[in-house]
Symmetry: C2
Subunit: 394 residues, 2 copies
């Protein structure tokens, strides 16, 4: 296929920060973007051509989106795969990744079963139907992560349970179909952003280290501060995972590195992912640009590291929802190594993802040889910059 410009129009279900960063990354390539999102003036809205205001699973809105674009994708899992497939077929536009893959991923139990079928290593897991069942599993595994099978994100829908007596409360908190995974005493969490292009082409970004607190990603360090054998194993597992998934696009593959040196799959996202935000500054082509290239069937961009990078999320540090004003941004603007990303959300809520900053090692001569101590220092500096930022007025 010969690419011509002006480029195609891409429809995205979801217009949050991922849609916004997609829009920011592909304007220069002449790709027009239309997003579908229920929130008027959603984060993506100011940087894309148009927004359809409607629900992620509103049949009419999805049909309208399909009718206006040349290709469809999604930046959120909360859309209906059947509606997406149907609208795409009706309007004869491709949709990527494949809605079947979205369906598999949406149900965390089905997702894990698909991985097991493909002999991909995962933590021990089991479906949970009753509090008694959960209690027995907690006793057997010595602690579990109880997960809502559908709809969880950013820590919502994930409840660690270590005391069998907490089983009933935990299941109430989930409030729906659940599964339990063995709580691992892992060495660290890592992630691989993987990329599927045309004709089965697969690329991966350098392995990223992800640091969570309260089940929410706080910082990412790329490349991960781990040994070469783990890196090789993580890449190998990521390629196996990509082999199981259908359709083109970027996939976020979250992994555990166990204390025994094993790499197990935690979760998969069929879209750009928070653990790949560092690729905007730190890789030759960002995950956002490459997602669009892949979805459109364009040549993929190189995924090579440009410079070791640390991303720190800026989360809502407020007690309750309020109008968002972020303070003390000066220090971030003054820092030579940091780039700030504001997501354009009108309201701040406790722990809501409001923006991020990425710091890259600026001295090029270090890039090839940067050791762990450089990344330790970069992580400390990035955290310190991030921690100056606040939504709370004095």
């Amino acid at each position: 296929m010969s690419v011509t410009l002006p480029g195609p129009t891409l429809g995205i279900v979801g217009g949050g920060q991922l849609g916004r960063m997609i829009g920011e990354s592909v304007a220069r390539l002449g790709v027009e973007v239309v997003v579908l999102d229920p929130t008027p003036d959603c984060p993506a809205s100011p940087v894309v051509s148009d927004q359809i205001v409607g629900g992620f699973d509103d049949p009419e809105a999805i049909r309208e989106l399909a009718s206006r674009v040349d290709a469809l994708t999604f930046e959120i899992e909360l859309t209906d795969p059947d509606l997406l497939a149907e609208a795409a077929a009706d309007h004869d536009v491709p949709v990527h990744p494949d809605p079947d893959t979205l369906r598999t991923i949406q149900d965390k139990l089905v997702q894990k079963e698909a991985l097991v079928d493909a002999e991909i290593p995962v933590p021990e897991f089991v479906a949970i139907a009753t509090a008694d069942g959960l209690k027995r599993v907690v006793e057997e595994y010595g602690g579990v992560m109880l997960k809502a099978r559908e709809g969880g994100y950013d820590g919502r829908g994930n409840v660690p349970v270590q005391d069998p007596d907490d089983a009933a409360d935990a299941l109430d908190e989930i409030g729906g179909a659940a599964m339990a995974e063995q709580l691992l005493d892992f060495e660290r969490e890592i992630a691989v952003m993987g990329l599927k292009g045309t004709d089965g082409e697969i690329r991966t970004y350098p392995v990223t280290e992800t640091i969570h607190r309260e089940e929410i990603l706080r910082e990412s360090v790329a490349p991960a501060r781990t040994d070469d054998a783990i890196v090789a194993e993580a890449e190998s597992v990521a390629r196996d995972v990509l082999g199981v998934l259908d359709g083109r696009g970027v996939f976020g593959i979250e992994l555990f590195e166990t204390r025994d040196g094993e790499v197990l799959v935690n979760e998969i996202a069929p879209r750009p992912h928070n653990s790949g935000h560092w690729t905007i500054e730190g890789a030759r082509t960002s995950q956002f640009e490459n997602h669009v290239r892949a979805v459109l069937g364009w040549p993929l961009g190189p995924t090579d590291l440009v410079a070791p990078s640390v991303t720190a999320n800026v989360l809502g540090d407020v007690e309750e929802t309020q109008s968002a004003t972020l303070r003390n941004v000066d220090a971030v603007l003054e820092a030579a190594e940091a780039d700030f990303h504001w997501y354009g959300k009108a309201d701040v809520r406790p722990l809501r993802k409001m923006g991020h900053l990425t710091a890259t090692l600026v001295d090029d001569s270090d890039a090839g040889t940067a050791g762990e101590s450089d990344r330790d220092a970069l992580l400390s500096r990035t955290r310190a910059l991030r921690d100056e930022l606040t939504f709370i007025s004095e």
Copy 2:
């Protein structure tokens, strides 16, 4: 001043490719942008919050723009400095650079006189009133560049005259107030993007080499392939020029390097400039982001080189105006070292600037030590990629 987000709203007179690249560069900083441009769906329009459709010197449109923003700037010289100053004062918003500086720069004769007053080296020049006068100057200088005093850009309004008998025709072609500059037998053309911040802070980007044909910029090479003494002199001249200009922002300073090793000022643009497009990929902070930071009174970003870079302009290769479809974009997308920028212009005209591509030296280990031969090769590869692109259907 403490910076808070969401950021201020910036009004830009002009919504061409410069406005577009400004919009692309500052969305992530939470700066909202409104442009004023007479062309509906102007290049900037898809990437900014809103466009006011109106003339660059339409008093009502400029007043409307001023009423809706927190700060004003311009990306084109074709606006009226008095209207801009008045609207800014009426609505109590800052405007940068200073409209007085715009007024000085708009008239190339006044611009040159201001430089001479500040003892900044420029080519010999003289005001031209009649064809006879021009004829005598051509004889005296042994060839001149005849320039329209106002309104010229991209080669329009510049006519080289080497034969005294061509004087009358050349003056007719200019068709208005004119000046003549001695045609220099220069070694090369170079440029410095300069930056003025708050409290008189001045920064410069690495000296760029600019390659013109038919008075239109075709390629830029950064850093310039010239010797250290010229680089030092160019930076010194650029700092002197910035000292003459009032207000904050980015200024494009075009220079001649003569065969005698002198550096003379050719022209000044009070805005981001084509010779600084490479800074998007090749410098720590792009000229577009730094222009906005400066105009808003924010801390300036570092202007350091990230990697040696070459920008090649994509100009209309058609014989007459037609609807724009750029072909053979695949090769650019496939090139690991190249980033493409499409300006979103609906029509292509002969030699119209339609986009550009920037290639950077991707092997980081070369960045510190890249010699001229690396940049020669990078220039060749970038030109070859650019030359594959065409608006002509087979």
